[in-house]
């Protein structure tokens, strides 16, 4: 028996033996869902590099980590999370080391019928809000989604009623402190935007200190007809952490889903998005920016599934890699036979700042309809010599010139981020990441 399947079996056996399978206070219908999920995980096992979508990312270290720590309980939230100020945000749910932090969380005034709350609280107090989406949970062929469904303890539930508009961003803040060392967290976020409703959700993953932990987050998102959602995933995990994120989006008729996936942290980060355009005229925009230096590994997997006609998808992922960092972009666009008049664009430019940085980019179009417009392009390049010389001839140091040009490369993605304070914050963090990347590369 090989190590991965042995580890898988130990996790499954542990789940069944322990009290984890039962959770006091949870509604009875949740148990079979979790139990089915662990069965599915056992069937699937940990993914190996034989799978196309795991070809460039080795899960051995993550599997090790999960096997050693799956029964460890989440640490208490600690005081040093105070430096993370959520008070000036109108809507913020704060989770510290996986636990909902009631004191730091609050929501402003909301249209009636809106729910923005901790999933665990909703499950205890008004489980009917969570049941429809939870019962639709289907991990499919994804082992880490199955693991999340089995082990999830908390996360956010955001439900916006039809026709409502939430002006200010809804922040979901996941803070990991030093106390999270060796811990595993499986947050599950359920986001539903009702018919014609509109909202912005920011899922921010941030670390205080440099703990080694694993976070396996799943976000299930549903946009009803005509709904509009901007989702910003802003990942700045500790440099010793593993971060796995899976975002599933189902987009209804004439609904518009926009994702901004910014990845700046973690030793290993994997960001997977599956967006299905389920209604006619649906729109899906995927923006991504990944910056990695040192020995970081960042893997982006996107799948845009055009199931209905007149859909539009626009995808722009940009990567900046320095030192020995490695980036992966695997972008699949499927156009189903019914999805005539689909317009799909995908682009993945990458910037390598050092000779030993690496990127594997694989655009993948599967087109089964004939009246469609699909384009894709991927590039891997270095900083432009002429632009470097131009800036230096104007007195700007080589290091600052690299920094300016790298930032200019990234700004196309940053400029699209909604909400100015958020955009400025991300720009600032990107600057800092680039400074670090430049220092290592130089």
């Amino acid at each position: 028996m090989n190590a991965l399947s042995d580890q898988c079996n130990r996790i499954v056996a542990g789940f069944r033996d322990s009290a984890m399978a039962r959770r006091p206070g949870a509604p009875p219908w949740l148990e079979p869902i979790r139990s089915a999920a662990i069965d599915r995980f056992q069937e699937l096992g940990f993914p190996t590099r034989k799978r196309e979508d795991w070809k460039y990312t080795n899960v051995a270290n993550i599997a090790d980590f999960l096997t050693k720590g799956f029964d460890r309980s989440l640490p208490e939230a600690v005081a040093d999370a105070d430096e993370f100020d959520s008070s000036r945000l109108e809507h913020a749910l704060v989770f510290v080391n996986g636990r909902y932090d009631l004191e730091r969380s609050h929501t402003g005034s909301l249209p009636s019928g809106s729910v923005i709350d901790s999933l665990a609280r909703v499950l205890n107090e008004q489980p009917e809000f969570a049941e429809p989406m939870l019962s639709r949970t289907d991990p499919g062929d994804r082992a880490f989604v199955a693991l999340n469904a089995a082990f999830q303890q908390d996360g956010a539930l955001v439900s916006i009623p039809p026709g409502a508009t939430i002006e200010n961003p809804i922040y979901l803040i996941f803070v990991s402190t030093e106390a999270a060392n060796e811990c595993i967290d499986h947050p599950l976020n359920l986001i539903r935007i009702g018919e014609g409703a509109s909202a912005t959700v920011v899922a921010r993953h941030v670390s205080i200190g440099n703990a080694a932990y694993t976070k396996n987050v799943v976000s299930n998102i549903e946009l009803a007809d005509g709904a509009n959602l901007q989702h910003v995933g802003f990942e700045m995990e500790s440099e010793s952490a593993f971060h796995l994120a899976t975002l599933n989006a189902r987009i209804g008729r004439d609904a518009h889903f926009t994702s901004h996936a910014i990845s700046l942290g973690a030793a290993l980060a994997r960001h997977e998005i599956r967006a299905t355009l389920e209604g006619q005229g649906a729109e899906c925009t995927l923006n991504g920016l990944y910056i990695a230096s040192g020995d970081r590994h960042v893997d982006n997997q996107t799948l845009v599934d055009h199931a209905e006609p007149h859909g539009t998808s626009r995808e722009l992922y940009k990567g900046i890699l320095s030192n020995r960092a490695k980036g992966v972009f695997n972008g699949t666009v499927i156009v189903r036979p019914d999805a005539q008049k689909t317009s799909a664009e995908q682009s993945n430019p990458n910037l390598l700042l050092s000779g030993s940085a690496e990127v594997d980019t694989r655009p993948n179009l599967e087109i089964h309809a004939d009246d469609v417009k699909c384009t894709h392009g991927a590039t891997v390049g270095r900083l432009d010599d002429d632009a470097m010389f131009f800036l230096r001839a104007r007195g700007i140091s080589e290091r600052n010139a690299r920094q300016m040009l790298s930032h200019a490369f990234a700004s196309e993605v940053i400029d699209r981020i909604p909400d100015e304070p958020l955009r400025d914050l991300i720009r600032q963090r990107v600057e800092e990441s680039l400074l670090m990347a430049g220092r290592e590369a130089g």
């Binding site: 002429d386 800036l391 230096r392 001839a393 104007r394 007195g395 040009l405």
Partner: protein, 268 residues
């Protein structure tokens, strides 16, 4: 062939027996040139004679390799300096093909540039407010609208706008030696006049200029003190401003024939 010195005073730039390679070919084959403060020198020559290579060597473009000779700027070995150190020392190159840099705003770039120079000179950096005041004043020189400042550097600019932007940078950075590399190329007569007026407004008794051009036209507006003709990598003739007129009349064939270096197809 050092020109007669109309100007007194110390030597600012001294180029001696300069040889350089670019793109795998020997381009400059022994250039000598001496420039004093306040002098305006035009370097003319046919395509491929090495004009732009002179500009690039002086500004320190890494892709040009100096294979022999020396360049002194105010007594310092210029060739030992990085491009940014040359800018700090007071050398400015107005690019023949100004680079477009999407994602960097023109005002951000120019402020970074000016402050880099100020820092190198031991002066305080200008804040956004003071910088804006400086730029507003200088923009009048080249008749540039303020909206260009918030746009990305040269992105989507017309040929004339790019060249005006170069002269604006020169006006803000106030170099000791400005090298204008074919600033007239691609300009219609109105744009040429605007650019030339801007340059003329920046002429001072201390500031020297090297005007590199293929055509005499620009020199109607920016009148040089000296004209040098470059052919096949060396200066074949030097004179006063009248030499430019003579060239306009007779073409470069005349000079090249007169100096039968007999190297068919030589130089890039």
């Amino acid at each position: 062939m050092t020109p007669p010195n109309a100007y007194e005073g110390p030597v600012m730039l001294k180029i001696e027996d300069l040889h350089a390679r670019a793109g795998g070919a020997d381009i400059l084959k022994g250039i000598d040139l001496t420039i004093r403060p306040g002098e305006v020198h035009a370097i003319m020559g046919p395509n491929g004679s090495g004009k732009s290579t002179v500009a690039n060597v002086l500004a320190g473009r890494p892709s040009v390799e100096v294979t022999g000779g020396s360049v002194e700027f105010e007594g310092r070995d210029l060739l030992a300096l990085s491009p940014e150190e040359r800018a700090h020392a007071g050398i400015f190159l107005a690019f023949q093909y100004p680079v477009e840099i999407p994602g960097i705003a023109n005002n951000y770039f120019l402020k970074a540039s000016l402050n880099a120079l100020r820092t190198a000179r031991g002066e305080d950096e200008l804040d956004a407010f003071d910088f804006l005041e400086v730029v507003r004043e200088k923009m009048k020189l080249v008749e540039m609208d303020e909206k260009f400042m918030s746009r990305s550097v040269n992105e989507g600019f017309s040929g004339g706008e790019k060249k005006r932007n170069e002269i604006l940078q020169m006006a803000v950075l106030e170099p000791k030696l400005a090298i204008l590399d074919e600033t007239d190329s691609g300009l219609d007569i109105d744009a040429l006049r605007t650019v030339a007026n801007g340059v003329n407004a920046l002429r001072t008794p201390d500031r020297s200029m090297i005007i590199i051009t293929h055509y005499q036209r620009l020199l109607d507006y920016i009148v040089p003190d000296f004209v040098h003709v470059l052919a096949r990598g060396s200066i074949v003739r030097s004179g006063g401003k009248d030499l430019a007129l003579e060239l306009e009349e007779k073409g470069y064939g005349w000079i090249e024939d007169e100096n039968t270096v007999a190297k068919p197809g030589a130089s890039a």
